[in-house]
Symmetry: C2
Subunit: 206 residues, 2 copies
C-alpha cells in the first residue's frame, strides 16, 4: 500500500471514481463492478481495475467491489475523510456562484472566507458570507491555517494574489483566472478555464 | 502533418500552450523558446518541444519559435481559427456567470443562446441574452446547427438534458453538473467540477 508511489495521472482519475461511487451509494447500491463503474464514467473496465489495484486488493473475482468500502478507501487516499477549509479570492460572478454552490458538501470542503479588493464589495454578503478585504487576507489565512484557495480574480491580478496566498501558507490553488500561475514546486495548481476545456473538444469536431 | 494521429493527452496540452502564446503576443512578444513557455506553463521544455514536434517543424535550434506563427498553427489544429456558437443550458449562478464571462473573446467561441426550464426565468435576461425555454431548445439548436453546449443544470437533470442535446446534434458538452454523463462515442464531454479538481490536490497535502 505504498500510496505515495501512485502516478499523478491515476490520482487525477480517483476523484472521478469517488464521485461515481458516491452517486451509487446515494442510490442505495452497495456493490459494483469495474464494468458498471466504467459505463458510468466512460473509462474502460480494465483501466479502472488497474488503477484501483495500485492501492491494494479490493473485491474478488466475480464478487465485485463493496461500494462503501471503496468510498472509504478513496476518501482516505485523497485525504477528504476530513473537511478542508477553503477561501475564495475575487467576488465577481464566478466567486459569487462558488460561494453559493452546494456541491462541496460531503466531498471534503467547506468555504471558510471570501475576499475581494473592491471596497464597494467589502462588507456586502455573498451567499452566507461577508466579503472581506484582501488587505487582511494573508493575516486571516495564516491565523486559520488555511491551505486551499479558489482564485476567481481577473487574469491581470492572478499572479499578485497567488504570491500573497503562497506567502500566507496556501498549498493548493484552484485557478479560474484564464492565465498560468507561477508557484513554488510545493504548491499545487489546478486550472478551470472554460475556453481551454472547449478548445480541447473542438479538435475532434468537423 | 498527420495531425489526426496526435494522442489525446497532447491535444489536452495544446490549448494551454495557445493561451500562454496569446498572452505573450498581447505583451508584444514575437519570439519565444520552449524554456520560456515551460516556465510560464509549468511543463518541462523537453515535453513542450516533443509535443510541438508532433505536428510539424517549428522554430530552429537556437532561434526559438515565432509566436504569431505558432498561434496560427495551434488555432488551426484546434479548429478555433473560426468562431463556434455555443449554448448554455441551465441559468443558475454558474449559467449567469458564463453568460456574462468575457473570456471567450478571441478564443474561438461565442455564446449564442441560453436556456432554462424554469418559467420564472424564461423571458428574463442574463448578460445580453434573453433566457429561452428548454422546451424549444432542441428545435433552436437544430435550426442553428449548434454543435457545442455548456451544461450547468443540477446533477439530477444533467442526463435528461444531455440526451436532448445529443439528439439535437450537439457533439461537444462542457459539463458543470457534478455527475458523469452517458453519451454516444461521437460526442465529447469535458468536466468542470470544482470538488473533483480540489480532491486531485488534497492527495498531495499534509
Amino acid at each position: 500500500m505504498n500510496t505515495h508511489k501512485i502516478p499523478d495521472i491515476i490520482i487525477g482519475r480517483l476523484p472521478v471514481y469517488l464521485r461515481a461511487l458516491q452517486q451509487l451509494s446515494e442510490n442505495g447500491i452497495l456493490t459494483t463492478s469495474s464494468q458498471e463503474l466504467g459505463e458510468i464514467i466512460g473509462i474502460s473496465a480494465a483501466q479502472i481495475r488497474k488503477d484501483i489495484s495500485q492501492f491494494g486488493e479490493f473485491g474478488k473475482q466475480g464478487t465485485g467491489y463493496s461500494v462503501p468500502f471503496l468510498i472509504e478507501r478513496l476518501r482516505d487516499i485523497l485525504k477528504v475523510n476530513r473537511v478542508w477549509e477553503v477561501v475564495i479570492v475575487g467576488m465577481g460572478d464566478i466567486g459569487h456562484a462558488l460561494a453559493r454552490y452546494n456541491g462541496f458538501t460531503n466531498r471534503g470542503f467547506h468555504i471558510s472566507m471570501v475576499f475581494d479588493n473592491d471596497l464597494q464589495k467589502v462588507g456586502q454578503t455573498a451567499g452566507e458570507y461577508e466579503i472581506l478585504d484582501t488587505a487582511v487576507m494573508a493575516e486571516k489565512i495564516k491565523q486559520n491555517k488555511i491551505k486551499i484557495a479558489m482564485l476567481t480574480v481577473p487574469a491581470a491580478f492572478a499572479q499578485e494574489m497567488t504570491d500573497q496566498l503562497v506567502k500566507a501558507g496556501v498549498k493548493a490553488i484552484l485557478n479560474y483566472a484564464p492565465t498560468s500561475l507561477n508557484v513554488p514546486s510545493h504548491v499545487h495548481v489546478q486550472y478551470i478555464d472554460p475556453a481551454t476545456h472547449l478548445q480541447r473538444m473542438t479538435y475532434y469536431l468537423d
